[in-house]
Amino acid sequence: MRPLPDTNTVNGEATLRVVRRDLPHDSARKHVTGGAAYIDDLREPEGTLHLAIGGAPIARGKLTGLNLTAVRAAPGVVAIITAADIPGTNDVSALGLGDDPLFVDSQISFHGQALFAVAATSRDAARKAALLAKVETETETPNISVEDGLQSGETVLNDYGFVVGDVASALAKSPHRASGTLHIGGQEHFYLEGQIALAIPGEEGDLHIFSSTQHPSEVQHIVAHLLGLPQAAITVEVRRMGGGFGGKESQASAWAAYAALAAHITKHACKMRPDRDADMAMTGKRHDFRVDYDVGFDDSGLILGLDTTLAARCGYSADLSAGVVDRALFHTDNAYYLSDTNILSKRVRTNTVSNTAFRGFGGPQGMMAIERVIDCIAWRLGLDPLDVRMRNYYAPGRDVTPYGQTIEDNVLPELTSQIERSSDYRARRNEITTFNAGSRFLKRGIALVPLKFGISFTAQHLNQGSALVHVYRDGSVHLNHGGTEMGQGLFVKIAQVVAETFGISMPYVKVMATHTAKVPNTSPTAASSGSDINGMAALDAAMAIRNRIAAFAAERYQVDAAHVSFRDDTVIVGNEVIPFPEMVEAAYRARVHLSSTGFYATPKLHWDRDKGHGRPFFYFAYGAACAEVLIDTTTGELRVLRTDLLHDVGRSLNPAIDIGQIEGGFVQGMGWLTGEELVFDDKGRLRTHAPSTYKIPTAFDLPEDFRVALFDNTNREDTIYRSKAVGEPPLMLGIAVFAAIADAIHSLAPGKPVPLNAPATAESILHACSCMVSIR
């Protein structure tokens, strides 16, 4: 037995042997050999039918006729399914609001909305047949942009916001005022594995559904509701997703529902896999926002009052917009204390896809709003934006958020000074000023932007996790929990927790597919909560079993249970060292129960939405990014020269996995704010519906000089091994790139506000440059 070196004794923490190690993703070997099975890779049951959707040819209007004769006659077609075939309720909305029909009944709400599904013997047969429908409609004028929606006054949900102090008088008294508008574009998830589900009928109408979903329980519940069956008749399983990013939180359900409904009707296994273009045209995206702001501030840049309204394009239905837009409001303070402020929102209804969860869940848009406000203040006063940022940081006595939560764990002052030094921000700022003065076509810019991100679902009931752990007689462990694996490394982290608990090495632990029959009533794997809630639940389950084994061992060897320890694949009982499998077998023979569920409910949370007051977040994650860019002021072309990231993950469960989240999140955030542009035409058709037209970053777009570090921190709250959530927060590090671009443009006419909107495509940058020059 070779004990591992004790390298983990920092901060007085007990030696850890598995947790905190840079272990590879649980499926890494399977990923690189092609052995990791995604749903489309599973062997299909005999007679599996393939589905395709026929979509609406207009964005808004009435469906007046649907002639499917040619579809029915097409080769390979077995069944056609429409709204009339739904035995239960024609709704797949996440919150049961009834505004997300699986099929159009009469009112068409967006271009491409499903009118019918075809089930055929092959994928190509189904797709070709779906094109043959004759559709008659009466067209109504659609709302496409946020502005269209604002003008028509249609919303999906009521207005909501935070009102703190007296913003009108604070603004009136302010020595300086600035106001403006910022447009922030949406974002396509572009998970590499598209939406997919395979439904297999069982006995008496039971269904087993393989769904690429972040929320298997919701798929289960929605399908049951759709089919008028008890939830217990539906089982949903997902081993892994090829990416999710929020796009499979609520919006995987419809695809599973198509497959389930078709399987229910045809009694065949049915697979629903839309083509990439159909996926992009039919699924929701990150909400685009229009932000209007009016800020008052003093000579030092201190914000005295901020009045801002965030108008979000929600699309045709509410979906998760309540939570998304709320979270935007929760993050409009970002790192800054706002004494007198109105932070308001409008949830605009448009005739476009229903926008949905996307990594950050509204938080990024809220932060973009306040960071633009800060930049405006700096431009007006001729200050370095970093100084204005630090001037407004939360601090003792200035530590209550607009929603009434006191900030108790703020590390931004230390974190910022660390990255300010390590990035050499001040010296580079001077160098850039010199460069810009002598450069005709090209300008450089730099920005250092902090982030603070609230961790917990703001829908309080979701802050619970469950797990199921079995220990088999040979010592191998079967681990299930409510979280789903979409690439973020959740499974390896939780396996590390369980291995640590039993003192065993990783090969003992088998991570199983997420399965509603193993762990029921789960929360979505979202809000960065995966390892926080499921890690704690798995720890709870594993500890229950460990305690039973320890009690048994203590009794058998007549020692105090406190003198039983689990490590290095053994159980140490007083002076005896017993291999773990032997001890497990002995416990089994002594009739010790070697299986347990585990449960966790996040403590300390309370939130009164009506009053806009409470503690919606258990804790905050922090970070900062410093980005430097070079732009061409005549073409708008962009090059990211260097980026430094410093991010707080508390005490990491797995630093390599966390670094992966930080780098990947940053690049995704950078893409959102630079090259990724969604274009809808005036008919409401998405024109950027494939990677040929929608451009996510490639390797070449990486900053040439890319430095990433973890901030040395713990979590003051008792989270799983004092780690912090990491899934979403790093995305917002990308805001530094956007701010650096604005800084470069600002050099064209110092003192003028930069009218740069997101995404900062070449065209958007050039437009902003032209405005700077023409108003000089």
Binding site: H31, T33, R127, G242, G487, R639, G660, E677, P691, F706
Partner: protein, 493 residues
């Protein structure tokens, strides 16, 4: 004549005699062979998740060609060994590329991973075996999208794995592979199917000419990097396909004193160094033309014959004064490339006529050339605007201007008014040059679309020309460009 498609899988020949003409290699792998390691991410050749490697003997050397199997026809694998992600590990021992991907945490969701592994496997076997730098790795994975990692660990994995001597099972069995591949290389015309539905791959120009005369309604396929999308996206039934990839001599490159003559099926990858030798901007243009997988499959002739208003090679070749050679039956004719593009979707190609070659003049000592492209993304994106400028300069005066644009009209098109305005101007006459640049508004009325607005297209077109003029006038590209600076210009930002 051979009546079946033949390629190798794991050393063994696979013969397809009943395949649908438009069967893609990816569908063959996933649906027929049930080898599901290779993924479909977009089915249009833009994400690289479906990347496989074709091992072939090219010019006497064993080549490892990374291609997108989603838009490659199964018949295009004829004569090659198809290597997929499942094939790389040697028993339990991962391939060095796979091991490096694990060690560097290069996979998260894993869906793009097989494609990256195969692209890097291509780099692993790329000649010369000298250690690649970061830029070379970027270039090899320019056709692969990852949405999780942010690429850094993948690039590190590539640098680690592809440094040093090659020592995998594929280098070990190269001799055997050569023999097996040689056995497939029968030099016969390939024809699978019947008179109304077939996949054909003629082996000679004469066979091609007569086959196409007999079936002028057939679709000619070079690399299928566009035709593949007719199948996967437009769901078109293409009953008659003639693949040009086996036509002997059609892929010839003749590098002469004053011109380079490219056969129609010369791939972009093969053309790259030759075009770069004319001007470094052409080299950069070829890099940006598409991801490696598309450059490896796509052909110079295809990019022209396709007639797209946003193809990247035509504007450059038009500005250089290229001449196109067309053939129908035994009749061969030539015409200036710019005359080939008549209108949107309409080219000067007669029924039964095919593109045989394009002749590209080299630059004379008094000629300067620039090719510049604007797109939403630097690598692997379609142009919003593509500008190609050739100036003949006498002393400091512009004696002649040849300027062509892509993305500005329904076809790749010359900027005649602007050319006329520039002719005779001094490079030291900024006022005159600025005025000439504005004449582009007379030459073009571009459109709004998802890539750019008309306004941006025109402004961008003018900016690119202004840049080219400034550079030809003597300004260093370090002062005019954020990327793609010219060889010789200092590299500091």
């Amino acid at each position: 004549m051979r009546r079946e498609i033949a390629f190798l899988r794991r050393g063994q020949p696979v013969r397809l005699s009943q395949a649908a003409p438009s069967l893609t290699l990816l569908d063959y792998l996933r649906l027929e062979e049930r080898a599901t390691g290779t993924k479909e991410g977009c089915a249009e050749g833009d994400c690289g998740a479906c990347t496989v490697v074709l091992r072939r003997v090219v010019g006497g050397e064993v080549a490892y060609q990374a291609v997108n199997s989603c838009i490659l026809l199964a018949g295009q694998a004829d004569g090659s060994e198809v290597i997929t992600v499942e094939d790389l590990a040697d028993g339990d021992r991962l391939h060095p590329v796979q091991q490096a991907m694990v060690d560097h945490h290069g996979s998260q969701c894993g869906f793009c991973t097989p494609g990256f592994v195969m692209a890097l496997f291509g780099l692993y076997h790329a000649p010369p075996s000298a250690s690649p730098d970061r830029d070379a790795v970027h270039e090899w994975i320019s056709g692969n999208l990852c949405r999780c990692t942010g690429y850094r660990p993948i690039v590190d994995a590539g640098l680690t794995a592809c440094t040093g001597a090659r020592s995998d099972q594929f280098s070990a069995n190269e001799a055997a592979a050569r023999t097996a591949l040689a056995a497939l290389d029968d030099g016969e015309d390939l024809f699978v199917g019947g008179d109304t539905r077939f996949f054909a791959a003629p082996a000679s120009i004469a066979s091609l000419a007569s086959l196409y005369l007999a079936h002028p309604d057939a679709v000619l396929v070079g690399g299928a990097t566009d035709v593949g999308l007719w199948i996967t996206k437009q769901l078109r039934d293409l009953p008659k396909i003639i693949w040009l990839g086996r036509v002997r001599g059609l892929d010839a490159i003749e590098d002469m004193d004053a011109t380079i003559n490219f056969g129609a099926t010369v791939t972009h990858e093969a053309a790259w160094p030759h075009l770069a030798s004319i001007d470094s901007d052409l080299g950069e243009l070829m890099r940006r033309f598409a991801g490696r997988q598309v450059r490896t499959a796509g052909t110079i002739g295809g990019n022209i014959a396709n007639g797209s208003p946003i193809g990247d090679t035509p504007p450059a070749l038009i500005a250089l004064g290229a001449t196109l050679t067309l053939q129908k039956g035994d009749t061969v004719r030539t015409l200036p490339l710019e005359d080939f593009f008549i209108a949107y979707g309409k080219q000067a190609r007669h029924q039964g006529e095919f593109v045989r070659a394009v002749e590209v003049p080299k630059l004379k000592p008094n000629e300067s050339f620039r090719a510049l492209k604007l797109a939403k993304r630097y690598d692997q994106d379609i142009s919003a605007v593509m500008a190609a400028v050739k100036l003949t300069v006498e002393g400091r005066h512009i004696a002649e201007a040849s300027i062509a644009y892509g993305g500005m009209a329904a076809t790749p098109k010359r900027a005649s008014a602007t050319e006329a305005a520039l002719t005779g101007l001094s490079l030291d006459d900024p006022t005159g040059l600025d005025a000439a640049v504005l004449r582009l508004a007379e030459d073009f009325s571009p459109i709004d679309d998802m890539r750019a607005s008309a306004k941006y297209r025109l402004a961008g077109a003018q900016a690119l020309l202004a840049k080219a003029l400034a550079e030809i006038g003597g300004m260093s590209s370090t002062e005019t460009r954020v990327f793609g600076r010219r060889a010789g210009d200092a590299t500091a930002a």
